[in-house]
């Protein structure tokens, strides 16, 4: 009896030990991974607040004491980063408006109305997502050049008012989850499709709209190739384009470069933290319904 008990408790504790080590190892691996994912950004910010001589030291100065913020005003003096940020904000807000207006209407047509050609057109729309930017890039450039739009934001903003496949797709998936009985009831009460769209679907779809707005905003903030092709005057640059311009002129002043990169990164990181839930849900949704 005693032997059995001892045996049992030994087995129990060894199992518990195994479980504990397993969980410790899991956390250890995750912590190491998390550090390697976060470290580069930490290093960016850390370099940006170090005087030059501290940047090159080994063992490294992890957190400088005191912080030397002079890289920030210096970087801002070399390059009109505030102008870039204003440009980018205006650009992002306009494309968000364009995307929301157009993509919600189109998604409604695909999700909530029964009509014969819609499945074919929907598949056609999904197929356009496979079309690489490079294929349409040259003719669109020629087209916008003919219209006299090159050098302005029009080539980057106007197309968003005609819907983007990915956002339409996301919104349609969400609209389809709204029970049909709601529209039917409104329809019987004499509401037309626009009223149903505006009064019923849009208010219920706020989380999806937030997701799309967020995606579009970040896309605009980070996009590089589009602005690179269409913008040629420095005063119109977006933050990404301005940053690249800055590197090509001040290639090795790491404190300044890291300060400028931090300025370009921080707003979007703050936005990400504020809207984290919307974000993660949106990304999860995009993968699962695909």
């Amino acid at each position: 009896m005693v032997i059995l008990e001892r045996n049992l408790s030994a087995r129990y504790s060894s199992r518990r030990f195994k479980l504990m080590t397993a969980s410790t190892i899991k956390h250890l691996v995750l912590i190491l991974l998390a550090i390697s994912f976060v470290f580069p950004m930490f290093w960016m910010m850390s370099t940006s607040v170090k005087p030059d001589f501290e940047q090159l030291r080994w063992p490294p100065v992890w957190i400088p004491n005191p912080f030397d913020f002079s890289n920030y005003p210096n970087a801002m003096n070399f390059e009109p980063f505030f102008q870039y940020i204003t440009n980018t904000l205006v650009y992002c807000v306009l494309t968000v408006v364009g995307t929301l207006v157009s993509s919600t209407l189109v998604a409604y047509g695909f999700a909530r109305i029964d009509w014969p050609e819609k499945n074919f057109l929907f598949i056609l729309m999904l197929a356009t997502m496979m079309l690489p930017f490079q294929v349409t890039m040259v003719p669109l450039f020629v087209l916008f050049k003919t219209l006299g739009w090159v050098g302005s934001y029009k080539p980057l903003i106007v197309p968003t008012f005609f819907g983007s496949a990915f956002n339409i797709f996301l919104l349609r998936q969400f609209f389809m989850t709204i029970p049909n009985s709601l529209s039917e009831a409104a329809y019987i009460d004499g509401a037309n499709e626009l009223v149903i769209f505006w009064r019923i679907i849009i208010p219920l779809a706020k989380p999806a709209l937030a997701t799309v707005a967020l995606f579009q905003f970040i896309y605009g903030w980070n996009d590089f190739l589009g602005p690179l092709i269409y913008l040629n005057d420095q005063s119109t640059f977006t933050i990404s384009l301005g940053l690249q311009n800055y590197v090509s002129s001040y290639g090795t002043q790491w404190g300044l470069l890291m300060a400028a990169s931090t300025v370009a990164t921080l707003p979007i990181v703050v936005l990400f933290f504020l809207a984290q839930k919307t974000f993660i849900q949106g990304i999860s949704l995009s993968g699962l319904k695909g």
């Binding site: 109305i113 057109l121 490079q134 769209f197 890291m258």
Partner: protein, 312 residues
């Protein structure tokens, strides 16, 4: 292809048939609602799609009208060593990055799915690098990879390992860029995690009853159940890799010795720096065909490895 389409379209619910008048009205309203996209599709997708095919058979520098030269752009491509180099670089990047990123992203998602404490924090930390603007992260990695003062080299020296020269080495520049891209796989991780959380628990319980160990559960239950998500991510990864551009443009401009001259970068240079718009269009069409073939190939193969539950 049809399987995915069915998944995308969702299940059709059984509804009473609407009247003919309502059907006709619906058709009109349906077209009206999607008309913004129709206009956008014609102007910003279909037209440029066809126009670029036309340009690919012309000599065109935007200043004078395009001149028909038949298949000469395509013939020139075959003779252009830089074209082959850029194609090789892009295929190299794709073949290395897509499988490695898939395995690592699934592995991290599996770890996160083990009822871990602080899941939301880890998920945020892994996702964080993906929101950093590509130009900013490119500059940051040039600094990290810097051979004299960069953190990575200093660290390797400190633990007594040789530093390979990273972005300045013909052999190492592509692996360096792959390494940097692996830092930005937060999006697939989040998608895989969502997929994993959707796997019903009773499947695992059944597997445990059958005596399956952890690895067997992962291999015979988890992987098949999330295989549609894997397909989705692999295809996104493929399409993205074929168009790899910004990092190379900012970090290396194609160097050293063209070993990071990727297809999209060379195409951009041809189009907007040399104004060889016809040649660039020919390259763009080849890129399109390559992406199409690769995607179809993955879709075809998916019949053998993707499991769609009871839906099919």
């Amino acid at each position: 292809m049809s399987t995915t389409v069915n998944v995308v379209m969702g299940k059709k619910s059984v509804k009473p048939k609407p009247s003919r008048a309502r059907l006709r009205r619906n058709r009109l309203i349906g077209w009206l609602f999607i008309s913004p996209w129709i206009i956008g599709f014609l102007a910003f997708a279909l037209y440029p799609f066809i126009a670029s095919l036309f340009y690919s058979f012309t000599n065109y520098n935007i200043l004078s009208p395009p001149q028909w030269i038949g298949g000469q752009n395509y013939q020139q491509m075959i003779k252009d060593p830089l074209f082959w180099q850029s194609l090789y670089n892009t295929l190299y990047y794709t073949v290395v990055f897509v499988p490695i990123s898939t395995v690592i992203a699934i592995a991290i998602a599996l770890l996160l799915n083990m009822k871990i404490k602080g899941l939301a924090i880890y998920r945020t930390l892994f996702y964080l690098p993906s929101v950093v603007p590509l130009v900013a992260s490119s500059i940051l990695w040039v600094w990290l990879f810097n051979p004299s003062f960069g953190f990575i080299d200093a660290f390797l020296r400190a633990i007594g390992l040789p530093a390979p020269g990273w972005l300045y080495s013909d052999a190492w520049v592509k692996p360096s860029l792959v390494l940097m891209s692996l830092w930005g796989i937060g999006q697939p991780i989040v998608i895989y995690l969502a997929g994993l959380q959707g796997v019903p628990n009773d499947l695992y319980e059944a597997a445990v009853l059958e005596g399956a160990n952890t690895w067997q559960r992962v291999w015979y239950v988890t992987i098949p159940m999330i295989s549609p998500v894997i397909l989705f991510n692999v295809i996104l990864g493929l399409i993205g890799s074929f168009q790899y551009f910004t990092q190379a443009y900012v970090m290396t401009q194609g160097g050293p010795d063209n070993s990071s001259l990727f297809f999209a970068l060379y195409l951009y240079q041809q189009a907007f720096q040399c104004l060889h718009l016809g040649y660039a269009s020919a390259m763009a069409w080849l890129l399109f065909v390559l992406i199409l073939v690769a995607t179809l190939f993955v879709f075809r193969s998916s019949a053998r490895w993707v499991y769609y539950g009871g839906e099919q």
